[in-house]
């Protein structure tokens, strides 16, 4: 039995909100349209009780705000290297938090995140079986998150809150 798309979507949204509030001190607003200028893309693949990948596409302005807030530095001190590192870490943490919410007892392994610049890409992907897509806006720019899932076994249920 697969976790239904609506449940997975809610859990992914929770993971994104938590990551952005705790790590980057930013608040996002879900939107129904594809945000513009999301040219920075980080991807994490995962294997375990569920397999797939998480893709996080960010606008440069949002990425700059993330780095600035995370490192408490001025936007002038934000370099491309810091943006790449921060974008990869964001995808990594969102992915881990999402999978944890899907099944607290389920073990999984994450790949090392990859990063690339993808200017002008029309993603033209829609949500469906095994695919979740959530778009966000913020004071600094947009973000487009896509999760591709193929479940290997039923979730074992949510376990204790903390060990």
């Amino acid at each position: 039995m697969k976790a239904d798309t609506a449940t997975s979507r809610n859990l992914l949204t929770e993971a994104i909100f938590e990551t952005f509030e705790k790590m980057f001190f930013l608040f996002l607003e879900p939107i129904d349209r594809e945000p513009e200028g999301c040219d920075l893309e980080s991807v994490v693949q995962f294997k375990g009780f569920v397999e797939g990948r998480l893709e996080v596409s960010l606008s440069r302005n949002l990425a700059v705000a993330m780095v600035s807030n995370m490192l408490s530095c001025s936007t002038g001190d934000v370099t491309d290297a810091k943006i790449e590192d921060c974008a990869k870490e964001a995808a990594n943490v969102i992915c881990g938090s999402f999978l944890q919410r899907l099944d607290r007892r389920g073990d999984f392994n994450l790949s090392t995140p990859s990063f690339r610049r993808v200017a002008g890409v029309n993603r033209n992907v829609s949500e469906g079986e095994g695919m979740i897509r959530i778009c966000f806006d913020s004071d600094y720019g947009g973000m487009d998150v896509r999760a591709v899932l193929s479940e290997n076994r039923p979730p074992s249920g949510r376990g204790p809150e903390e060990v």
């Binding site: 938590e18 990551t19 705790k22 790590m23 780095v67 995370m70 490192l71 408490s72 290297a81 810091k82 590192d85 921060c86 990869k88 870490e89 990594n92 943490v93 992915c95 881990g96 938090s97 944890q100 099944d103 607290r104 007892r105 389920g106 073990d107 999984f108 392994n109 994450l110 090392t112 376990g159 204790p160 060990v163």
Partner: protein
């Protein structure tokens, strides 16, 4: 007295954040060493005394789990408390990490307070950053 800290994470941003949290927490930090994976951490440990290690698990090369195995096999290094900070926080993974000798596990994303509280617990200081084993003499200490 201050304590030397080793931060192990392949993300330089995450190392910077953890270093800042430790610095502002009131924890009496001496030297702060950084390493991008387990091998670099072991290299640091071969040349420097470290009082507490804060480490990620999933890193290229020698992972955090491999590093824990090395520490556990070394009579001197096995006494250094290790706090693991990771995204991979399933119950099974936490059990595995703790069985390898880690003292605490913190899931990312975390709040600064989370790291600060655990650091205090592991080192043995109270919430104000005072060392629990330091006791004032009842008469004020005058001879």
């Amino acid at each position: 007295m201050s304590f030397n800290v080793l931060i192990v994470d392949d993300s330089s941003s995450m190392r910077a954040v953890i270093r800042k949290i430790v610095a502002i927490s009131g924890f009496k930090m001496g030297r702060c060493y950084e390493a991008a994976n387990g091998q670099e951490a072991l290299d640091v440990l071969s040349e420097n005394w470290v009082d507490v290690i804060i480490s990620d698990i999933n890193m290229p090369g020698v992972s955090g789990l491999d590093m824990l195995d090395h520490l556990k096999a070394d009579d001197l290094l096995k006494e250094i408390p290790v706090i693991v900070v990771s995204t991979e926080g399933s119950d099974e993974r936490i059990r595995s990490v703790m069985s390898k000798g880690a003292k605490r596990f913190v899931r990312k994303p975390f709040l600064p307070e989370d790291i600060r509280k655990i650091l205090y617990e592991v080192i043995g200081v109270d919430n104000e950053g005072r060392y629990c084993d330091v006791q004032e003499p009842p008469d004020g200490g005058d001879f």
